[in-house]
Subunit: 274 residues, 2 copies
Amino acid sequence: MTPKVALTIAGSDSGGGAGIQADLKTFAALGVYGTSAVTAVTAQHTAAVLRVVSLDPDTVLAQVHAVLDDLPPAAVKTGMLANPEIVKGVADLAARGRLPNLVVDPVLVSTSGHSLMDAGGVHAYRELLFPHALVVTPNLDEAALLAGTDVHELVTLEARAQVAEELRRLGPVTVVLKGGHLRDDTSADVVAGPEATLVLDSVRVETRNDHGTGCSLSAAVAAELALGVSPALAIERAKSYVHRAMSGAVRWQLGSGHGPIDHFGWGDGPAPPR
Amino acid sequence: MTPKVALTIAGSDSGGGAGIQADLKTFAALGVYGTSAVTAVTAQHTAAVLRVVSLDPDTVLAQVHAVLDDLPPAAVKTGMLANPEIVKGVADLAARGRLPNLVVDPVLVSTSGHSLMDAGGVHAYRELLFPHALVVTPNLDEAALLAGTDVHELVTLEARAQVAEELRRLGPVTVVLKGGHLRDDTSADVVAGPEATLVLDSVRVETRNDHGTGCSLSAAVAAELALGVSPALAIERAKSYVHRAMSGAVRWQLGSGHGPIDHFGWGDGPAPPR
């Protein structure tokens, strides 16, 4: 009867739609007790990121340790780790087996397009953190950066399957290569797992209210893992959850830009069965 | 169908039971879209506060402005404002009418007992922020500090009603003087409002799982105000919500100290009707 615990290590989004806020909302919606370690505080809303203040790695790790020592999580996700030192600190904990069911959303590029990680950060993700991840969830830009290829090479499903498998050889058990940012009808996610490489397709939700979908997807995978679900099923359920959350908010008018999604099933959009 | 928005200006609690995390959980549980401005990042869990890093006032206000400019809240609550400069910055916005339905939880003393505010901070609360608050929710220690009296003077209901009315003369429309920290049977809250001073009593929930009850109460008041409820009814509903959340978690085993409450009604404790 005590709820399972999940931990997110990520940035704070004042607008509440992405970052630890999206993660905590997702954990709660899926019945998991949420804890968090803040890596950076952002002043942002649905239209712009106005300010980013990174926390020093010691403060980030102090938060992680506070949670691990007292509220042991059943799953952990990482979002924006802000700088290479934080990636290294988190990877060190992962290497010591302290971060169970680790889901890594490798946030390398902000939505506004500027790089959050130098070459050292990309290297730390590839060589230090990925080997200890159960699931990684790059989008196309991130996958291209991590694989050292050009994103324009990733237009075909074959090319994307190949890069997903390449990233899987770095260590993660399952790679979810998200196709959501593509603007054509080949927007399917590629899932490279231990048994097979699959294409997970779903009908695109036509909406501007898609702020925080990447955060919410990886948080939902972590929540499902915390509940004891297998990675393959966790990914399928997480994708379905985010689809429902996007559908629920299509008519919401929150903010002038990309509005948040409907984490709690309040909205009146179509609700496909789980 | 677009949800109402509430904003919390408060500290971050890595353990997820208090601070912006408790506020966001409370907002969500009551059907209100949550946004947040982080004033300080703490590494803490159910047994101790291990580290506190305050953010500079500019970063706090940048977050507040990001929310106000794009996701106008229907209600605002303040929790730990960390230092007098942040109190002043928030009070300045309140004075300019930017913080509607303002609920001020005057966090002056940390749970571990050390003071978060010097005399300048107490003065800023009294003279600058309270005049613009719709509801303030001090506990007994905070009320004593704000009124310049000794907390041991506040043992009788009469003395507490008097100090609540004294704080009301500083400007807030309604003062909720919480009795929750008392360890006897006179644990009732005193509510001094424009029409009357009332005693709001409820059966004490016997539990160590009471982390974040103060945060959650003021957040619930703000959520109800955002939904359009009157201050008197918002306070009554908020008290009932926190009572339910405490009851739901009585058998939870989360953490070695004061565990979190059951924000989402998951628990198996008795659930009194709202």
